[in-house]
Subunit: 332 residues, 2 copies
DNA sequence: CTGTTAGCGCATTCAC
DNA sequence: GTGAATGCGCTAACAG
């Protein structure tokens, strides 16, 4: 910066000002400085800037997996909401593990984010403690946690699945099964199973008709194996609710290979309204969530909280309930 | 850190040592310090550490899109290769735009990464200049650039698609079409079209039989619209090569809806060996690339280069050609 | 609109 | 194995 300053015939401080948008510099001086910057190939050292200003200029966003269009859309929403704020989003992925989430929370906090966006409402005790003590705003998404860490932008996965089962019941299905992963690692998946069980209890359906298959998130091929297990164990099953569209598509493909008509032999429903749900033949009944909207809204809430904090204003914890809706298609 | 030091009855320097793995501290002292750290909820400020040590402890990885299992696998590979090195990967996505790539390169460089991994070999002039001047190792992936910026771990997309077309020709297909996006925004997609044209020229096939549909990356539904256009414009088409498995699946679904037998009426092939390629019915012929391996190898190469640089050793630019292979399935 | 001074929280270096 | 002095490159705060 001193080099640039010398070349432009100004002080380092003036270079610093020219490199930030907040003005207080004459157009002519800025132009001269920018020319010097380009000539020297100077790139501002944000590390030093952060250190000095105590503003890191970024927020951390943690998602379970990169390869999931729902979370990719949420990340896009966050990025868009932050656009123009001078804040950048740094992404981390937890592989659906709260232990890994804890690690990433810690390593993110070492870089002093101005806020964090998390997926889900379940965290390790230590992660909760770190987050609380960090003193920066936190938004939990894709869930409705009982005891939120801070702000929330999400919905109840249990409630959404419960609605889906009720919907199938209204359509006349009575022997409904559930396909999901073997552990509670995917906490949203576990919540969906809870919703299935709740609806089954309310409607007097069989609550045993559950196939758990593979470590979450379960793949298309695991969905295929699961539907075979479900129908061989309970051959009178007339509908299967799957933890995600991907497993539902796997089940659908396996049915096709075996000549089982969908929805004639068995109806299928997924979760998430991935592109494949509408592209599949027959198209998949599913639960649509506004993934992008969750991210955008979470970004908004976080930004407001960060701005409030900069002004030493307190911002009350906000909980935004996002809508979901059942999309009936050809598999039911 | 001073607080922690006081509580543990040592100097700040000793706390700094305790928080890094490099030893030179007694077990008893470290234990006392760790206790104080936990009690106070202290989290090391890596910004200050980076600033002082001139090591940011991270590498930047830029991918075109998050929602793509190929690039997600590559990112996983990079993360795994870096595991244990003390380097963290920070991810950015470019939306398949070199202009956005330039922006992200700049904002990453402001945080002083110790290395960068890029997807593709085409960049804006300014991005190239920034990268060259940054003085840190760079690895380009998923491509075989003519003039690499630094190291390369990839393959030729043109060559892979050319092989696929030759493969179809050997299987007896003679009126082969190509489905891709409308612009060169997805540079790997553009290279695949080049490979198609090259093979068509070599084999004496019709070189006009191309449908470009939508902004890359093209969606499943755009793949569906494209196959309809292709077959209505050139009804004698006996095979279609698609820029990706996703568009190929969209084409496949549309054929099914219209009662066009695949591969009877038209054969289809994709690119990438996504999970959907094997899950689809009929399963998709495609080109498999070792996405995870590209990431892992790129991470390895970058790590070696970073370690060499730390020791002031020069490391010659390395080019690693990764294999691809045609996977013949039921759509051809 | 521009310059000067001071200091952000660590790690490096050297002393002991 | 531990401590003290020093400085990393920038920006806040204030002066002019």
């Amino acid at each position: 910066m001193t080099h640039v300053a010398q070349r432009a015939g100004v002080s380092a401080m003036t270079v610093s000002r020219a490199l930030r948008k907040d003005g207080a510099i004459s157009a002519a001086t800025r132009q001269r400085i920018m020319a010097a910057v380009e000539e020297l190939g100077y790139v501002l050292d944000q590390t030093a800037g952060t250190f000095s200003s105590k503003r890191s200029g970024f927020v951390a966003a943690l998602v379970p997996s990169l390869n999931n269009s729902n979370f990719a859309d949420t990340a896009r929403g966050v990025t868009d909401a932050l656009d123009g704020s001078g804040l950048q989003m740094l992404l981390g992925y937890t592989d659906y593990s709260t232990a890994k989430e804890e690690e990433i929370v810690q390593s993110m906090l070492m870089r002093r984010p101005e806020g964090l966006i998390l997926t889900g409402g379940r965290h390790t005790e230590r992660a909760r403690r770190l987050l609380t003590r960090a003193g920066v705003p936190v938004v939990e998404t894709w869930d409705m946690p009982g005891e939120p860490v801070g702000h929330v932008v999400g919905f109840s996965n249990a409630e959404a699945t419960r609605s889906l089962v009720h919907h199938l019941h209204e359509r006349g299905y009575r022997r409904i099964g559930y396909i999901g992963g073997t552990s509670n690692r995917d906490t949203r998946g576990a919540d969906r199973r809870v919703g299935f069980l709740r609806a089954a209890a309310e409607l007097g359906l069989d609550r045993e008709r559950i196939v758990s298959f593979g470590q979450p998130p379960i793949s298309m091929s695991q969905g295929g194996e699961a539907i075979v297990q479900l129908l061989s164990r309970w051959p009178d099953t007339d509908a299967a609710v799957c933890v995600s569209d991907l497993s539902a598509f796997g089940a659908l493909s396996e049915c096709r290979r075996r000549g089982w008509a969908v929805p004639g032999r068995v109806a299928l429903a997924g979760f998430g309204d991935f592109e494949i749900a509408s592209a599949a033949v027959p198209s998949l009944t599913t639960v649509a969530v506004d993934s992008y909207g969750i991210g955008h809204r979470a970004g908004d809430v976080l930004l407001q909280a960060i701005l409030a904090r900069r002004d030493d204003r307190a911002m009350p914890a906000e909980t935004v309930l996002m809508p979901f809706r059942i999309i009936e298609r050809e598999t039911t």
